[in-house]
C-alpha cells in the first residue's frame, strides 16, 4: 500500500478552497473522495486518461472538450485545487451571494463566469470569438453523435451554422463574440441551466 498521507486533505487547504470556490466543508470532502477514486495512479493529480475512464464522458459528444476544460493551459495533470476550481463554475448561485461586496472579485459561479466557461468550450483557439468553423465542429459532434446512418451533410450543418451566426452576430464580423453570446442567452435561465444541485 502506498502512503496515504497525500490523500489526506489538510485543513488549511480546505479553507483556501472554500474561500476560492465557495464550496462548503462537507462538499469539499465529498468531492475530494471522488477525486481520489478517480485518481487511479494515486499521485494526487488526475491525468486525461483518468477522466476518459469515466463512462459518461466517453459517450458524451462534448467529452473531450470537457476534459480539456479541467486542465490548465498546456498542462497534463490537474490537482485537486484545479479540479475544484473548474467544478466551482457549476455551483448554484446563492441568494445571499447576490448582495455581496461589489469590490470583491466575481465569484466563480456567477452568471458571467458560467457563461464564460461555456463560451470557452466553444472557442477552442481562444480568440474570444466563436467562428463558423468552431460552431460547425460543435454542431457536427452534437448531431452526429450516436446515429449511424444519419446522412446529414456538412452543407446542411453549414447552413444551420450560418443561420445561427446570422441571428447572433451584431457587429457583422461573422462570428459570435462573448458579448453577443451573452445577449443571445439572456432569456435562458443560465443560473438554473448551469448548476448542479449536488454541488449546493
Amino acid at each position: 500500500m502506498g502512503s496515504r498521507a497525500s490523500s489526506l486533505l489538510r485543513e488549511e487547504e480546505i479553507e483556501e478552497i472554500k474561500k476560492e470556490t465557495g464550496f462548503s466543508h462537507s462538499q469539499i470532502t465529498r468531492l475530494y473522495s471522488r477525486f481520489t477514486s478517480l485518481d487511479k495512479g494515486e499521485n494526487g493529480t488526475l491525468g486525461r486518461e483518468d477522466f476518459q475512464r469515466i463512462p459518461e464522458l466517453a459517450i458524451n459528444p462534448l467529452g473531450d472538450r470537457i476534459i480539456n476544460a479541467f486542465f490548465p493551459e498546456g498542462e497534463d495533470q490537474v490537482n485537486f485545487r484545479g479540479f475544484m476550481r473548474t467544478l466551482a463554475h457549476f455551483r448554484p448561485i446563492e441568494d445571499n451571494e447576490k448582495n455581496k461586496d461589489p469590490t470583491a472579485s466575481e465569484p466563480l459561479n456567477s452568471r458571467i463566469n458560467k457563461l464564460l466557461f461555456a463560451f470557452q468550450l466553444y472557442d477552442l483557439d481562444r480568440d474570444d470569438k466563436i467562428s463558423r468553423d468552431e460552431l460547425l465542429q460543435v454542431l457536427r459532434m452534437m448531431v452526429l453523435r450516436m446515429m449511424v446512418g444519419v446522412n446529414i451533410s456538412d452543407e446542411q450543418l453549414g447552413s444551420i451554422a450560418d443561420r445561427t451566426i446570422q441571428e447572433a452576430d451584431q457587429n457583422g464580423d461573422n462570428s459570435i463574440s462573448f458579448n453577443e453570446f451573452i445577449k443571445v442567452l439572456e432569456k435562458v435561465d443560465v443560473e438554473q441551466k448551469m448548476s448542479i444541485r449536488f454541488l449546493h
Binding site: 468531492l31 471522488r34 477514486s37 477522466f51 469515466i54 463512462p55 459518461e56 464522458l57 458524451n60 459528444p61 462534448l62 467529452g63 470537457i66 479541467f70 467544478l87 457549476f90 448554484p92 441568494d95 461555456a118 468550450l121 466553444y122 460543435v138 454542431l139 452534437m142 448531431v143 450516436m146 446515429m147 446512418g149 444519419v150 446522412n151 446529414i152 451533410s153 452543407e155 446542411q156 453549414g158 447552413s159 444551420i160 450560418d162 443561420r163 445561427t164 446570422q166 441571428e167 447572433a168 453570446f181 443571445v184 442567452l185 432569456k187 435562458v188 435561465d189 443560473e191 438554473q192 441551466k193 448551469m194 448548476s195 448542479i196 444541485r197 449536488f198 454541488l199 449546493h200
Partner: protein, 749 residues
C-alpha cells in the same frame, strides 16, 4: 351600423351592441326551453280529424319534438358563442373583467329570465360536465403542456398538488366541524366526515378557472406552470378523498385500515391514471405511424384515443384528468413527427375551439345553475368557508414553499408565492362534485350554496383583482420570445456539458437521467413509433426546420418577400435555409435554391399514390403542383433577370417554354443536396405542406398572382453568368430542343 357610428358616440354604440346581443342570446334559449306543445296539438287534431273528414294534406307542419334535444343543445352553444362574441366587441369591458366573470353573469341573467317566465332552468348536469365539457379543456391543456418547465418543476408541483390539497382539506374540514359544534350556529347535525367531505370538494384548485384567468394576465412561465400544474395534478387527490369520504360517511366509522387503504388507493388512482394515459398515448403514436395514406382522419385518432383514455380511467375510478394529460404528453412528440402539417393545424384549432366552447358553456351553466339550484343559506357557515379557503391556501403555500425552497435551485420569491396563493381559484369541478352528493346528506343544499359562494368569490374577486395586483407588484411577465436557433443549440450544448460534469462528479442527477431517457427513446422507442426514416432525425434539425418554416410563413404574410421562392424539403435532406433579408444576398440565395433537387420532388409527386382520402383530387393536384412549380420558377426568374430584356417568344406556348425551362434545370441539377427554403403562402386551395414527409406534396408556393408576363424574360439559369447565356440560348432557340424535351420531364422521373 355605419349610420349609428356617425350618429352616436362610441360608448352608446357599445351599449347598443351588448343589449342586442344579450336579447338575442336570451331569446334563443327561452325559445328552446318552451315546451313543445305545438307538436302534440297538431298530432292530436290530426288523429281526431282523420276519422271524421278527409283532412287536406299538411303542406307545412311543425314537429318540434323530433328535433328538440339537438335543437336545444345547438341553441345553448350558439348562445354561449354569441355572448363570447359580444364581449370582445366591447374593448374596455374585456380588458377589466375576465371573461369568466362575464359569462357567469350572463348565466345568471339567463337563469333569472327562465325562472321569471316560469320554466325550470337547466342545471349543470354532472354527467354532462364530466363526460363532455371537461375533457376538451384538459386535453387542450395536456397536449400543449410546456414540457420543459413542467419537468423542471415537477417536484414542486407535486408537493403543492398533493400535500397542499391534503392540508386544505383537513384544515378546512376540521375547522368547519369545530364551527358546527358551536351551539349558536345551529348546525349541530353536521358530523366530522361530512365536513371533511365538504373540505375535499372545496379545496381543489380548478384547472378551468385557472386557465381562464391566467390566460389573460400573461404571467411568467414559472408561476403559470406551478399553479396550472397543481390544478391538473390535484385531481387524483380530489378523486381519492372524495370517494373515500363518501364511503366513510356511508359507513359512519373510520378505522386505521381504512386510512391505510385510502393511501394505497391514492397511489393506485394516480399511477393507474398515468398508466392508462401512457398506454393510449403509445397506441395513438403507433397508429399515427401508418396514417400516411389517410391523412384526413389523422386528427380523429388523436382525439379519440385521448377520449378513450379518459373514459377508460373514469370507468375504473382512476384519475381521468391525469390519464388525459399523460396521453397527450406521451403521444405528442411521435404523432407530430408522423402527421402532416395540415393535420397538426387541424388538431391545434379543433382543440382550441372545443376547449373554448366548453369553457364558455361551463361558466354560463354555472350561472344558470346558481339561479336554479336548491339553496340553503347560513351566513356563518358560508362566510367562514370563504375566509377559511383563503387562509388555508395562504398558509399552505407559505409553509410548503418554505420547505420546497430548501430543495430548489431557483427559489420561489415572495411575489411568486403570493401569486400562487392568490391564483388558487375554485371552479366548476367543485360545483359538479358537490352536485353529485347524494341527497342523503342533509347538509347537501348548504354545501352547494357554500361551494357556489366560494366559486363566485374566487372567480369574481380574485379573478378581477389579480391583474391589477400583478401590475402593482411588478411580477415578472411572460417574455415573448420567438424561437431562436441559438437558444436551442446552446441549450443542448449546456445539457451535454452538464451531463458530462455530473459524470465527473459521480453524481446521478437530473441531467444524467434525462440523458438516459433520451437515449432510450432514440434507440428503442422512436424506431417503433415514427414512420419512415424520420426517427433518425435529430431534434436540432427538426427544430431548425420548423423554425425556418414559421419564419418563412411570417415573411411571406408580412409581404417582405413578395416573390414565392420555389423550394423543397426532401426527406433526407431536411434543412431549409434562411431567407436573406438583403436583396443582394437574395439573388445568390435564389440561385442556390434553384440548384436544388427539384428532381427528387418531381419523382415523389408522381410516384405517390393518390386516393380518395387525400384532400384533393389526384389529377388536379398533380397538375396544380406542376403548374405552380413552373409558374413560380418563371416568376422568380423573371424578377431576377430584370435586366435581361429579352421579350422574345411572347407568343410561345406555355408548354414549350416550360419544357425549355425543365431542360435547363435538369442540366443544372446537382446530385448533392443544397440548402433550400420552403415557402408557404396561405392561399387556397391548399396551404402548401411544408413539412413534407414523403407522402405530402411539397407544394410549390403558389404564386396565385397571374403570371402572364413575358415568359421570355425569365431566362436566368441561376448558376452564374454562363448559365444566363445558356438559357438565353435555349430560349431564343426553342426549336431543336423542343423535341428532345418532350420526353425529358417525363422520363426523368
Amino acid at each position: 351600423m355605419p349610420a349609428f357610428s356617425c350618429a352616436f358616440p362610441g360608448c352608446r354604440r357599445d351599449l347598443l351592441v351588448i343589449v342586442l346581443v344579450v336579447f338575442v342570446g336570451i331569446g334563443l334559449p327561452i325559445e328552446a326551453s318552451a315546451p313543445a306543445y305545438q307538436s302534440h296539438g297538431t298530432e292530436g287534431s290530426y288523429l281526431t280529424n282523420v276519422t271524421n273528414t278527409k283532412k287536406a294534406f299538411p303542406v307545412l307542419a311543425v314537429n318540434y319534438k323530433h328535433v328538440r334535444q339537438p335543437f336545444e343543445i345547438a341553441l345553448w352553444i350558439l348562445l354561449a358563442l354569441l355572448m363570447k362574441l359580444g364581449f370582445h366587441l366591447i374593448p374596455r369591458l374585456s380588458g377589466v373583467v375576465p371573461e369568466s366573470c362575464l359569462l357567469i353573469v350572463v348565466g345568471l341573467l339567463v337563469g333569472g329570465l327562465i325562472k321569471v317566465i316560469g320554466e325550470e332552468p337547466p342545471v349543470l348536469d354532472s354527467q354532462l360536465f364530466f363526460l363532455c365539457l371537461l375533457p376538451p379543456i384538459i386535453l387542450d391543456a395536456g397536449y400543449f403542456l410546456p414540457i420543459r418547465p413542467f419537468t423542471e418543476n415537477v417536484g414542486t408541483i407535486l408537493v403543492f398538488a398533493v400535500i397542499g390539497t391534503l392540508w386544505n382539506t383537513f384544515f378546512m374540514g376540521g375547522l368547519l366541524y369545530a364551527l358546527c359544534q358551536i351551539e349558536s350556529v345551529g348546525l349541530g347535525g353536521v358530523d366530522l366526515l361530512a365536513c371533511l367531505l365538504f373540505g375535499s370538494i372545496v379545496s381543489a384548485v380548478d384547472p378551468v378557472a385557472v386557465l381562464a384567468v391566467f390566460e389573460e394576465i400573461h404571467i411568467n412561465e414559472l408561476v403559470h406552470i406551478l399553479v396550472f400544474g397543481e390544478s391538473l395534478l390535484n385531481d387524483a387527490v380530489t378523486v381519492v378523498l372524495y370517494n373515500l369520504f363518501e364511503e366513510f360517511a356511508k359507513v359512519g366509522t373510520v378505522t386505521v385500515l381504512d386510512v391505510f387503504l385510502g393511501v394505497v388507493c391514492f397511489f393506485v388512482v394516480s399511477l393507474g391514471g398515468v398508466l392508462v394515459g401512457a398506454i393510449y398515448g403509445f397506441l395513438a403514436a403507433f397508429t399515427s405511424r401508418f396514417t400516411s395514406h389517410t391523412r384526413v382522419i389523422e386528427p380523429l385518432f388523436v382525439f379519440l384515443y385521448s377520449y378513450m383514455a379518459y373514459l377508460s380511467s373514469e370507468m375504473f375510478h382512476l384519475s381521468g384528468i391525469m390519464a388525459l394529460i399523460v396521453c397527450g404528453v406521451v403521444m405528442r412528440p411521435y404523432v407530430e413527427a408522423n402527421i402532416s402539417h395540415k393535420s397538426y393545424t387541424t388538431i391545434k384549432y379543433f382543440l382550441k375551439m372545443w376547449s373554448s366552447v366548453s369553457e364558455t358553456l361551463i361558466f354560463i351553466f354555472l350561472g344558470v345553475s346558481t339561479v336554479a339550484g336548491p339553496h340553503a343559506w347560513n351566513w356563518t357557515f358560508v362566510i367562514t368557508t370563504v375566509i377559511l379557503c383563503l387562509v388555508s391556501r395562504v398558509l399552505g403555500v407559505i409553509g410548503l414553499t418554505f420547505i420546497i425552497n430548501k430543495f430548489r435551485i431557483v427559489k420561489l420569491t415572495k411575489k411568486d408565492q403570493f401569486i400562487v396563493a392568490y391564483g388558487g381559484l375554485r371552479g366548476a369541478i367543485a360545483f359538479s362534485l358537490g352536485y353529485l352528493l347524494s341527497n342523503r346528506h342533509q347538509m347537501r343544499n348548504l354545501f352547494l350554496t357554500a361551494i357556489i359562494t366560494v366559486i363566485f368569490f374566487t372567480v369574481f374577486v380574485q379573478g378581477m383583482t389579480i391583474r391589477p395586483l400583478v401590475e402593482l407588484l411588478a411580477v415578472k411577465k411572460k417574455k415573448e420570445s420567438k424561437p431562436s436557433i441559438n437558444e436551442e443549440i446552446h441549450t443542448e450544448f449546456l445539457n451535454h456539458l452538464l451531463t458530462g460534469v455530473e459524470g465527473v462528479c459521480g453524481h446521478y442527477g437530473h441531467y444524467h437521467w434525462k440523458e438516459k431517457l433520451n437515449r432510450f427513446n432514440k434507440t428503442y422507442v422512436k424506431r417503433w413509433l415514427i414512420a419512415g426514416e424520420n426517427f433518425k432525425e435529430p431534434e436540432l434539425i427538426a427544430f431548425y426546420r420548423k423554425m425556418e418554416l414559421k419564419q418563412a410563413i411570417m415573411m411571406v404574410e408580412s409581404g417582405q418577400l413578395p416573390s414565392a421562392l420555389p423550394s423543397t424539403i426532401s426527406m433526407q435532406n431536411i434543412q431549409p435555409r434562411a431567407i436573406p433579408r438583403v436583396s443582394k444576398k437574395r439573388e445568390e440565395e435564389i440561385r442556390r435554391i434553384l440548384r436544388s433537387n427539384l428532381q427528387n420532388n418531381k419523382q415523389k409527386m408522381r410516384s405517390r399514390s393518390y386516393s380518395r382520402h387525400t384532400l384533393f383530387d389526384a389529377d388536379e393536384e398533380d397538375n396544380v403542383s406542376e403548374v405552380r412549380l413552373r409558374k413560380t420558377k418563371m416568376e422568380m426568374e423573371r424578377r431576377m433577370s430584370h435586366y435581361l430584356t429579352v421579350p422574345a417568344n411572347r407568343e410561345s406556348p406555355r408548354p414549350g417554354v416550360r419544357r425549355v425551362r425543365f431542360e435547363s434545370d435538369n442540366q443544372v441539377f446537382s446530385a448533392d443536396s443544397v440548402p433550400t427554403v420552403h415557402f408557404e403562402q396561405p392561399s387556397p386551395p391548399s396551404t402548401p405542406d411544408a413539412v413534407s414527409l414523403e407522402e405530402e406534396v411539397p407544394k410549390r408556393p403558389s404564386l396565385e398572382a397571374d403570371i402572364e408576363g413575358p415568359r421570355g424574360n425569365a431566362s436566368d439559369n441561376h448558376q452564374g453568368e454562363l448559365d444566363y447565356q445558356r438559357l438565353a440560348r435555349c430560349l431564343s432557340d426553342p426549336g431543336p430542343n423542343k423535341d428532345k424535351e418532350e420526353d425529358d420531364p417525363f422520363m426523368s422521373c
